[in-house]
């Protein structure tokens, strides 16, 4: 990995992901069994006050069921939170993207739709700017050690090559890419450091899937992640956001504090 050291005042971001299904925040293990974890707005405000740098609301049933995420929820979040938030799940085309932005989202994240219709990346970036778009990549390390891309909440395999797809996402104008290691999600075995340090990318990289303890965040940032995203570790009240940040600061990573 070749990484240029450049002057920056930017600090790594800690992002809390709230998986939403039927208006409630849920958490699944390996994308499957869902547990109810509470009200999205209430939880969003809680994480904001703990020092979360950003929030992501993912309507995880929308992509599977073909439903749109609750636009009313996005609107309420926009009115109540004072930190940036991203919304995703079930976005199929530019009309869906328009709806999410009109409801008040700061950014959208697309996954299945980007693979099915890569031009949606260009369309969204052209209309709202690159900074408004996070392309999420669900990738699984298969038993035979190959990296396979998935869509639809981890239920459908895609034949496209992982590295080719990462480059295409950047070339088409995405502002950030979220690497979600499915084989790590919900397992609590840490982020996939090999994936994070695989290459130097020219857009910010968000590490997702596998956070179990503060050390996992430290390893992901040291491996090259610009932002780290986690859900269960916070929803289960194992750690607060400020506890994780405090640990990172003690380990010489500059983080935003309140």
């Amino acid at each position: 990995m070749s990484k240029l050291v450049q002057h920056t005042s930017l600090v790594p971001r800690l992002i809390v992901c709230l998986d939403v299904a039927y208006g409630c925040v849920v958490k699944g293990t390996n994308f499957k069994q869902l547990k109810d974890m509470g009200d999205p707005i209430e939880l969003g405000l809680k994480y904001q006050s703990q020092g979360a740098d950003e929030l992501v609301f993912l309507d995880i049933k929308a992509s599977v069921d073909g439903q749109n995420s609750a636009l009313a929820m996005i609107n309420k979040v926009a009115k109540n939170l004072s930190i940036p938030f991203t919304v995703g799940g079930g976005i199929k085309n530019l009309e869906d993207v328009d709806k999410f932005f009109n409801a008040g989202a700061d950014k959208v994240t697309i996954n299945s739709a980007a693979l099915q219709n890569p031009n949606l990346i260009n369309q969204t970036a052209n209309k709202y700017g690159s900074q408004s778009l996070i392309v999420a990549v669900d990738v699984n390390l298969e038993a035979n050690n190959s990296l396979i891309l998935y869509t639809h909440g981890g239920s459908k395999k895609v034949s496209k090559n992982y590295d080719t797809w990462m480059q295409e996402i950047i070339d088409r104008g995405a502002g950030e890419v979220m690497i979600n290691a499915m084989h790590k999600d919900g397992t609590g075995s840490g982020f996939d450091l090999d994936l994070l340090s695989r290459q130097y990318y020219s857009i910010p990289i968000i590490a997702s899937g596998g956070a179990n303890e503060p050390k996992d965040f430290l390893n992901a940032i040291n491996a090259g992640a610009d932002a780290v995203l986690a859900a269960g570790i916070f929803h289960r009240n194992e750690y607060t956001v400020d506890e994780v940040k405090h640990y990172l600061i003690q380990n010489k990573i500059e983080m935003r504090t309140l």
């Binding site: 450049q6 005042s9 600090v11 930190i83 008040g104 900074q131 610009d226 309140l258």
Partner: protein, 188 residues
């Protein structure tokens, strides 16, 4: 306070509106120039040329220049800050308001846009060492009126203060509790 928010058709204004309302002010979205406000806020997102072209609609240009020269409060945010200057290398054919001297430059960093939180450097104690949220690929590098700077490849102006004009390259409406305090200070 009664705050007018200039609608230049560039991005959602909900966050700015909510932020101002949550501070206890009245926020009114303006499609056309109107004078009966205590302060004007000009948010802006997206391409410089597009937002600048919106200034040519409804005589915004003349209105904003006379508002600012009359000494009334004016707050620019993101591209709304950039528009106060002469122009931008993003779209060299497009004209800014030219209220402040300078041309907006591309950030010299290999990861753009700049996305995230950065700590301000300032001689103003209220601004210094505070974290604020940035989303931009372009910025004003130097100005006599820089009130705070940050680094991204190079040092640039994060905030501007000149008499009745305040402007931010970052998003105070997305910068948590500090962003709210900052907006409140500017509006009061």
């Amino acid at each position: 306070m009664k705050i007018g928010i200039i609608d230049l058709n560039s991005g959602n204004l909900l966050s700015v509106i909510s932020s101002i309302e949550n501070l206890g002010h009245e926020a009114i979205v303006l499609k056309k120039p109107q004078s009966n406000f205590d302060a004007l806020v000009m948010p802006g997102q997206g391409r410089f040329a597009f937002v600048a072209s919106q200034l040519d609609q409804n005589n915004w240009r003349e209105f904003i220049i006379s508002w600012v020269t009359s000494g009334k409060k004016f707050i620019g945010i993101c591209v709304g800050m950039q528009l106060l200057f002469d122009g931008s290398v993003e779209d060299t054919g497009a004209k800014g308001l030219g209220i402040l001297a300078g041309t907006v430059q591309k950030l010299k960093h290999d990861k753009t846009p700049m996305v995230g939180w950065a700590k301000l450097s300032s001689t103003d104690k209220k601004l210094n060492d505070q974290f604020v949220y940035f989303v931009n690929s372009y910025a004003i590098i130097e100005s006599n009126y820089c009130s705070a700077t940050v680094n991204y490849g190079t040092s640039f102006c994060a905030a501007i203060q000149k008499d009745n004009i305040v402007a931010f390259q970052f998003h105070p409406e997305k910068s948590g509790e500090f962003g709210q305090e900052l907006l409140q200070q500017c509006l009061n």
